[in-house]
Amino acid sequence: MVETFAALGEASRLRIVELLRAGPRPVGEIGERLGLRQPQVSKHLRVLKQAGLVEMQPRAQQRLYELRAAPLRELQGWLERYRALWDARFVALDDVLDELKTKEKVAHGRKK
């Protein structure tokens, strides 16, 4: 997870990942689309590959880089668990609020 976050924590790499969501592409095209020089793209792809986020596929004369969904799904799961923590807090907060509302009604009733 640390690796996934670290790999995605750089703006150009995040843009590469976003671009590859549409499908596999060769280094040259990635560079062209994002306005990056090829050595830079290769460097970023190396980091993404180490983090397991992309895979290289040889196809005919080309080397295509393809996104791997597993680490992204894992990241999604990680965030989902944090969201679930807050959701569990808020479900408990709903109960507290129900009680406060009831107390207020009772207090209001007494005043009358």
Partner: protein, 163 residues
């Protein structure tokens, strides 16, 4: 732990250093404000029993400059504390506070809570801005189950090695 799909709690990461959590409540803003600022209420919801955690420390000195500190416990083991101080208090719509997560004593976050009431319902948004992506990610990991806490330790090591 029951899986609820109708909860409406949303989590967004607006930037590398932020977490934004939003939820709507069937209560007026003044009651939500009370429930999030008084320790006797916070004690009951901040560490949800449904997740096997409890809040063993809940101190809130609710005034500008006042300090707060929460410690959760899981399986009899204290988790790293969250603490900070209040920068702004505007009942019943807004609070701004600092938040320090114990493993990162030098990296305080700023948390802005806003409450917007409409038709008797209140939407709470909780925006946290962390000093770095590492701290933010460690905070996300703090709410995790055992295996996930391992990740947090790794993150702590990564951050230590960068320092």
């Amino acid at each position: 732990m029951d899986a609820r799909n109708d909860d409406g709690t949303t989590l967004e990461l607006p930037s590398d250093r932020e977490i934004l959590i939003t939820r709507s409540f069937a209560a007026p803003a003044r009651l939500v404000f009370e429930a999030i600022s008084k320790p006797e209420h916070v004690r009951r919801w901040w560490a949800p029993r449904s997740l096997g955690v409890s809040l063993v420390v809940c101190e809130i000195d609710f005034r500008v400059g006042g300090r707060w500190r929460y410690v959760m416990q899981r399986n009899g083991e204290n988790l790293p504390s969250f603490s900070g101080s209040f920068l702004e208090i505007q009942p019943p719509t807004r609070t701004v506070q600092t938040e320090v997560f114990e493993p990162f004593p030098d990296g305080g976050a700023q948390v802005t809570v806003t409450l917007a009431e409409a038709d008797g319902k209140t939407t709470m948004s909780n925006r946290s801005v962390y000093p770095s992506q590492e701290v933010r990610d460690a905070v996300i990991a703090s709410g995790m189950e055992k295996g996930m806490r391992e990740s947090m330790r790794q993150l702590t090591e990564v951050v230590a090695s960068l320092a």
